[in-house]
Amino acid sequence: MRSNPPLARDPAQEQASPLLKLAALAGLLFLHLPILIIFLYAFNTEETSFTFPPPGLTTRWLGEAFGRSDLWDALGLSLRVAFLATALALILGSLAAAAVYRSTFFGRDAISFLLVLPLALPGIVTGIALRSAIGMLHIPFSFFTIILGHATFCVVVVYNNVLARFRRMGGSLIEASMDLGADGFQTFRHIILPNIATALLAGGILAFALSFDEVIVTTFTAGQQETLPIWIFSQLTRPRERPVTNVVAMLVMAITFVPILIAHRLTQEK
């Protein structure tokens, strides 16, 4: 709307009141300070307590954490689950986005609703629903049942990203390609894929992050397996390994930070 600029600031206009700035800053700090605390505690010398200020700083817990085989197993499982779930979500999400974009069909809006439902309904609903269904079919809970659950709620993340990119791309590019002699497959390879590549990447990264961190549905769909979040959760309820947990927490935060940044950049408007 040219004549109705949005609420954003006109440089000539008023500045925010200092009170507002303070309140906004407070909110922002509230969001981020706890994360910084983690980093502090990962280097705490004191083994059993959470005392503040920490009596001393050491890097010895890093070494211990790296020596723990159960930790590596949990990490490995989480990574494998995330990779497979993301791969599935990429395929299913892109297919759904392509279908919704190119055709209008009966129930089209329902598809978007259906895909978002696993994320919109509370995790325990998805979790226990899957558990009861899997149990009813007497399927053993395993690596594959975990992936079943993860892929289901990761699809919508890819779907949204790819669909938004399709819409920005516009249909005339595909028509132009075909007009110039390229069939469907060639058009996909030369035109469609390059244009949605970054959306796929962003969606994939976000799906990976979602799966890597998920604990609620995983609790319901896992057998004896322990993913990293499940490991952390067990530490939350029966804390035995505080210093190592601190290290793990810090590393997880640090590792997920970079991909989020990348995904954000990829989805920026040019």
């Binding site: 516009g170 132009a176 007009d179 110039l180 035109i191």
Partner: protein, 351 residues
């Protein structure tokens, strides 16, 4: 006219529906090789749909479409020897200008060196030398339009389709591009099919014009035919200014109540008591409105016998002060009998 070769394009009673909407409602036409053929009409008249039917982006619900004698109903766009210049240019944003233009050649596996040479030749032809390495986002609207043209022409199609390609350009650029397109078409010698809603553009560039209205063709003819001899009131109104007189008002002037139209530039403004020459019609009235347009002036004249006529006169000697003073004065309109057109359709035309 007898012609041994099949026409470049032939439509046989083609229909295309979208649900209840009859976008194309029984269209038949022939387009000859080497013609600059324009499909003219308002939005929603079916002209763009017809273009898309030729390109292959739509398939007809009924009727036949033949390209050089071959039925193409089941041919996808990439199998047709037709290329399109899109309204939004549709340049591939992730490729350079050079790669965009060479796209069709690349698909057909033409060697890289030959591609490069042909791209350069193309860029010369559309008068954009040396920009092969730029990206589309770095180009202006006019430049993009020419790149789109180059991209289509490099494949040497037998027919080129242009979907309102000049719509986004400003007036001066548009007029310049009209001349350039016409020049290129003469040089390359292939059939151009041009879609537009701008009747001036159609008159400027075309060998023949098809006037579309609500999914049907109202008239096909050369620009002169369509302008001087409109077949229906719609054509009279859409191409040029519509001056329609019918009923009682018509009877007072021509002696018949049938609808007739007269082009505004064919009417002379004369003093109120001027004698009407033989083979001419006359009508008295009062100048209701004067619109000064620089090159010419439009007068809206209220006729004593009923109705209104618009008259256009070049400002050869008069200044704006002079012409504007004419408002409210009484005047006698005179025109040659041969210049009026009786019309088939009784509906009032639209401007």
């Amino acid at each position: 006219m007898p012609n041994a070769n099949p026409p470049a394009i032939r439509f046989v009673d083609v229909k295309r529906f979208f649900g209840d909407v009859h976008a194309v409602d029984g269209v038949s036409l022939d387009i000859q090789d080497g013609e600059f053929f324009t499909m003219l009409g308002p939005s929603g008249s079916g002209k763009t749909t017809c273009l898309r039917l030729i390109a292959g982006f739509e398939r007809p619900n009924a009727g036949q479409i033949l390209l050089h004698g071959q039925d193409v109903s089941n041919l996808p766009p990439y199998e047709r020897d037709v290329n399109t210049v899109f309204q939004d240019y549709a340049l591939f944003p992730h490729m350079t200008v050079g790669d965009n233009i060479a796209y069709g050649l690349m698909i057909r596996k033409v060697a890289a060196e030959e591609r490069r040479q042909r791209v350069e030749a193309m860029l010369e032809m559309v008068r954009l030398p040396g920009i092969a390495n730029r990206k589309p986002s770095q180009l202006s609207g006019g430049q993009r339009q020419r790149v789109a043209l180059a991209r289509a022409l490099i494949n040497q199609p037998r027919v080129l389709l242009l979907d309102e390609p000049l719509g986004a350009l400003d007036l001066k650029l548009r007029q310049q591009m009209q001349i350039e397109l016409k020049t290129i078409q003469k040089r390359v010698g292939i059939t151009f099919i041009f879609v537009t809603h701008d009747q001036e553009e159609a008159l400027t560039m075309s060998d023949r014009i098809a006037v579309f209205n609500q999914g049907k063709i109202e008239q096909i003819g050369t620009p002169a035919e369509v302008y001087e001899h409109p077949a229906t009131a719609f054509v009279a109104g859409f191409v040029g200014v519509s001056n329609l007189i019918q009923g009682e008002a018509a009877r007072k002037i021509t002696g018949s109540e049938a609808v007739f139209s007269i082009r505004p530039e064919k009417i002379h403004l004369a003093e109120p008591e001027t004698p009407v020459p033989a083979n001419s019609f006359g009508a008295d009235g009062r100048i209701r409105e004067v619109i000064y347009l620089g090159i010419n002036t439009r007068y809206v004249v209220e006729l004593d016998g009923g109705g209104e006529l618009m008259v256009i006169q070049q400002n050869l000697n008069a200044t704006s002060m002079d012409v504007l003073a004419a408002r409210g004065q009484r005047v006698r309109l005179v025109w040659d009998c041969s210049h009026i057109r009786a019309l088939g359709s009784a509906e009032a035309g639209k401007n």
